[in-house]
Amino acid sequence: MNLDTLTWLLEGLLERTPGTRHALVLSRDGLKLCHSSGLRADSADHLAAIAAGVQSLAHSASVEFGDGAGGVRQAMAEFYGGLLFIVEAGHGAHLAVITSDEAEPGLVGHNMNELVEQMGEHLTTPPRTVAGPA
């Protein structure tokens, strides 16, 4: 699955989910992989770093207070003017969505998980193996 296809899938998510504004796929170490067209490159870089931090803290919370299964189903932040949702998307990647106040959280979460299933294994962001030269 190439980047154009992924971007097209992200646009589709926004189209069928009322209130959504931006969608972004990021690597777990905080770098953008692809995003919807309305998101500026600088904002995408910033959102990728934010979402990686939030997911990592959410994972720490699950280790400390969870049932031991050790996973984060979804991280969410509700702020004045919108919401941020993050779910895991394949190995080593996350999907982040920004919505307006009017979005329906249940529907957003459902549609995000549906999209992750569609993307499936194509989203694998493998660990760096051999360190490249400086």
Partner: protein
């Protein structure tokens, strides 16, 4: 709890979740919390330092580095690095019956610099870790601390192998003579502890000078 009277003032206890199975429980007599930030470039040993000194299982937010970082996160000099901090490290040291020190380690890469402001908020001072293989990575931290007037010390993390004299490091960093510079091995608890002690002494000296 109350803040110390020193300037800049010590923080209230941070809102970050403390790991529950602390090896050393926080004494009920604790009255004073002091916060220290550890900053510096990518891969310089900040997470290692917090781990070395913390008496509790540190909160760490290290994530496996992915291939998306090829060409972004420069591994020159730290080729064995496999994971990187994406939020912050958090550790704790009980100083005595009434005082506790919270140590926050910042993420190093530019994309996470926006987090630094919150980490510095209420901090007594900061430790800048430097690695002589990538000295330029620490310029941003030093510039920022100087600009915002946060007291700091610079610790040359040499992993037990002194490669440059401290004078050389000071010259290369163009570091003000008033800023303490010392050598450390971030993996060693005692060595890391000396860095924190140097910072606290430096802050105390600044306060004493200022009140004269």
């Amino acid at each position: 709890m109350h803040s110390t009277t020193s300037e800049p003032s010590a923080s209230q206890p941070p809102a970050a979740p403390a790991p529950g199975d602390a090896h050393v429980p926080l004494p009920a007599t604790t009255e004073q919390a002091v916060k220290i930030a550890v900053v510096g470039g990518f891969g310089v040993g900040k997470t290692t330092l917090v781990r070395s000194v913390s008496e509790i299982r540190p909160l760490n937010t290290e994530e496996t580095m992915t291939r998306a970082g090829d060409g972004v996160d420069d591994l020159g000099g730290v080729e064995d690095k496999r994971a990187t901090t994406v939020a912050f490290d958090f550790g704790r040291i009980t100083l005595d019956a009434t005082s506790v020190l919270y140590v926050f380690g910042a993420p190093g890469q530019e994309r996470f610099w926006f987090l630094w402001e919150r980490l510095f908020s209420g901090a007594l001072g900061a430790v800048v870790l430097v690695d002589t293989r990538r000295l330029e990575d620490s310029w941003y931290a030093i510039d920022r601390l100087e600009a915002q007037g946060t007291p700091f010390v610079v610790a040359h993390n040499d992993f037990g192998e002194a490669d440059h004299s401290l004078e050389e490091v000071r010259a290369a960093l163009d570091l003000d003579a008033a800023v303490p510079l010392l050598r450390c091995d971030a993996r060693e608890r005692d060595s890391a502890k000396q860095v924190l002690i140097a910072l606290v002494r430096h802050v105390r000296a600044l306060v004493t000078e200022g009140s004269r």
